[in-house]
């Protein structure tokens, strides 16, 4: 890790800087997506790129998700390094054929003679009535496809470093960013730097319980971890998984060796989530290490309702995580106990539940 001079910028700014610097470094890098050069600039993650690099490197696109994905693959096969952007991961479902049948397999099926260096940025929507078709969290659908790399950086620091690594990577990389991370700040060096793909990171140390979390759920876990420590003196180890494929099971195993307890927190539908895959691999590889049954925390197995009245408890939060920890440790969590009530009060979100949690705005 390069030495950081202090500078806090948001996740969105970090993403933008990664693309900007990558384009500066490598003339083969081009960017395309619906809205990339428009005034909103994909939540400002592509602002001014068109002005800086010109209309032959920065593109808006027709609403043709599958076709343009194929176009990007073809351009990559001809030596370009396209970064494609979908404002919602839900739209990428239209491009599954190109991503799964072509991008993921091209290098393999042509015996390594060619490769497909593309990055597909997809944004997971949440809040303000995003509803059934605009807030899916489909990482498991992509991560089960050999040949794709799938990453979900949580911090602005990782967003920049991992996006740079993704753009330099010779394989197709699905870069999944949770919309609620966009405004969270972190200390981000100005220089061009890489963060390797496929490695989890410890966000909060502890030896009571291992909490392996993905994307925005790592933030919620961190909030829970701080409260549990300050109020109850319970130290949980929060792992920011950062990458979905490859999945860093080794880091989880190392932590579990210490804690003997595992909670996996995912942003997705519960069943078939990457959380289940992780739990399974831990048990397969280190049977007997767990002292208590592993627990997964995720969203229920149904679409996201739009009404904020219904969505309120659709997403697990710090309280859900803290309760699971206490339950796993066999600690009494009835509202009678003084400390528990204090914990709950601390974890109470200020602000509406369908906007980002103000309980943590960074830096990490």
């Amino acid at each position: 890790m390069p030495d950081l001079e202090k500078r806090d910028i948001t996740y969105a700014q970090a993403v933008r800087e990664a693309i900007d610097q990558s384009m500066g470094q490598d003339a083969r890098v081009i960017v395309i997506g619906e809205g990339v050069p428009d005034p909103k600039a994909i939540f400002n993650t592509t602002a001014e790129l068109s002005e800086k690099y010109g209309q032959r490197r920065v593109f808006d696109m027709p609403l043709s998700e599958n076709g343009v994905t194929g176009v990007c693959i073809g351009a990559a096969l001809s030596g370009m390094r396209p970064v494609m952007i979908h404002q919602r991961i839900d739209f990428a479902l239209l491009a599954m054929d190109q991503l799964v049948n072509n991008a993921a397999k091209w290098h393999y099926m042509f015996d390594g003679k060619a490769s497909v260096p593309i990055v597909v940025r997809v944004i997971v929507g949440r809040g303000w009535g995003q509803g059934p078709q605009h807030s899916q969290s489909l990482q498991a659908m992509f991560s089960l496809v050999p040949g794709l790399k799938v990453i979900m950086p949580t911090t602005a620091y990782d967003a920049k470093g991992m996006l740079i690594s993704a753009i330099e990577d010779n394989n197709p990389v699905i870069f999944i960013e949770h919309r609620w991370l966009h405004q969270i700040k972190d200390n981000v060096p100005e220089e061009y730097y890489r963060v390797p793909l496929g490695q989890a990171k410890v966000l909060h140390e502890g030896d009571a319980v291992t909490v392996a979390a993905f994307s925005y759920m790592a933030v919620e876990s961190l909030i829970a971890a701080k409260a549990l420590m300050s109020i109850m003196g319970i130290g949980i180890e929060v792992l920011d998984m950062r990458s979905v494929n490859p999945l860093d099971v080794t880091s989880v195993l190392n932590s579990v060796q210490k804690t003997g307890r595992l909670i996996v927190v995912d942003t997705a539908y519960r069943t078939g989530s990457i959380a289940g895959e992780l739990i399974s691999q831990v048990v397969e590889k280190a049977f007997g290490v767990l002292k208590t049954r592993p627990v997964r925390i995720a969203s229920p197995d149904h679409p996201t309702p739009t009404s904020h009245f219904m969505a309120e408890h659709y997403y697990p939060g710090p309280q859900t995580i803290a309760d699971a920890v206490l339950d796993m440790l066999g600690i009494d969590s009835n509202t009678e106990t003084e400390t528990y009530r204090e914990l709950c009060e601390t974890l109470l979100r200020d602000g509406p539940h369908d906007t980002p949690n103000r309980g943590f705005t960074g830096p990490f």
């Binding site: 809205g35 609403l63 509803g131 197995d301 149904h302 009245f309």
Partner: protein
């Protein structure tokens, strides 16, 4: 055209306009907590096309659905309640502005994945033809939607089976903030539909009478078994792509362009014409305004006094 029809057309457009203006006014209260795409400025298309349909004809729509829903006769209370996320909403709150449905009036559903409902409309037309029903299906979509491959597949399937469907392309020149010229080459959209082997027409979507006559011809054709009909109608979106405000500040379109857009007001243009030919008086208009205001006030009243759905409820009706 009969006098009542003129009244009906005018009133329907005015009603949609006022309803959406009310939505815009109250959106800032942050109690309608969902994305909202207003069709202010585009009312003539929804109203003109629906006026050509009979009650049992069905319709599918997209993210910008308020006008389509209301023009087809969709329940206003259920729509406002849906935007407020209440149990009495047309989706019980599960959908919000981008998911509207009113099966009682043949409004089959609107969803926000661009292109998503186009083949569904073809499928409902297919069902009609397989059952020899005298029922026409209509689908509204935008110029941006025309870029989706599923359009090609839908046009081909509909033409192959000579289905009773009307494809209505509302060409407002923008997909979000991206101009048509940045997404499509310089050639008319409707010609591609024509090349697929169907009757295709282009017209001024801000001229309600032109829309109606084009739509009537198309609906008659479809009903008579002459297969799919494609209509491209030009129009202009007044407000921001998503949200209640004007977006002059964004500078993706010039003030001049916006001014001209606002001048080309389908409602005023029609009112003017009707007044000139003494088919409509200011007092008629004032009467409508009053009725509509009342209706709108009641609808918001209804919505805000409706029950709030519970989290528990959100886990039900996942499978049929």
């Amino acid at each position: 055209m009969k006098k009542e029809n003129h009244f009906a057309l005018f009133r329907s457009m005015l009603r949609i306009r006022r309803v959406e203006e009310a939505l815009a006014d109250r959106y800032a209260e942050q109690e309608m907590r969902c994305p909202m795409h207003l069709c202010i400025g585009q009312e003539a298309i929804a109203v003109g096309v629906c006026a050509a349909l009979s009650a049992n004809d069905v319709m599918f729509s997209n993210h910008r659905a308020h006008g389509h829903y209301l023009a087809k006769g969709g329940n206003l209370n259920a729509m406002i309640a849906e935007l407020y996320g209440r149990s009495t909403g047309c989706c019980g709150g599960r959908g919000g502005s981008m998911h509207l449905i009113d099966l009682d009036v043949g409004f089959m559903g609107a969803t926000p994945i661009v292109g998503g409902t186009v083949p569904l409309a073809v499928g409902s037309a297919w069902a009609s033809s397989l059952r020899d029903e005298n029922r026409v299906s209509v689908v509204f979509f935008g110029d941006g939607c025309f870029e989706e491959g599923v359009i090609h597949e839908s046009l081909n399937f509909a033409a192959l089976h000579k289905l009773p469907i009307i494809f209505v392309c509302e060409n407002n020149g923008f997909s979000v903030y991206t101009r048509l010229t940045e997404r499509q080459p310089n050639r008319p959209i409707y010609r591609i539909a024509e090349a697929h082997g169907m009757t295709a027409t282009i017209g001024d979507g801000n001229d309600i009478e032109e829309v109606l006559s084009i739509a009537k011809a198309a609906v008659d054709n479809a009903r008579q078994g002459n297969g799919p009909q494609f209509i491209e109608l030009s129009t202009y979106r007044w407000r921001e792509h998503c949200g209640p405000d004007f977006d002059d500040g964004l500078n993706y379109r010039s003030m001049l362009e916006i001014e001209n857009g606002l001048k080309d007001n389908p409602i005023d243009k029609f009112a003017m014409r009707l007044k000139e030919s003494n088919l409509l008086s200011q007092s008629d208009i004032d009467g409508y305004e009053a009725e509509i205001q009342k209706e709108i006030t009641d609808a918001f009243q209804f919505a805000l006094s409706s029950a709030k759905p519970s989290t528990k409820d959100s886990g039900e009706r996942i499978y049929a």
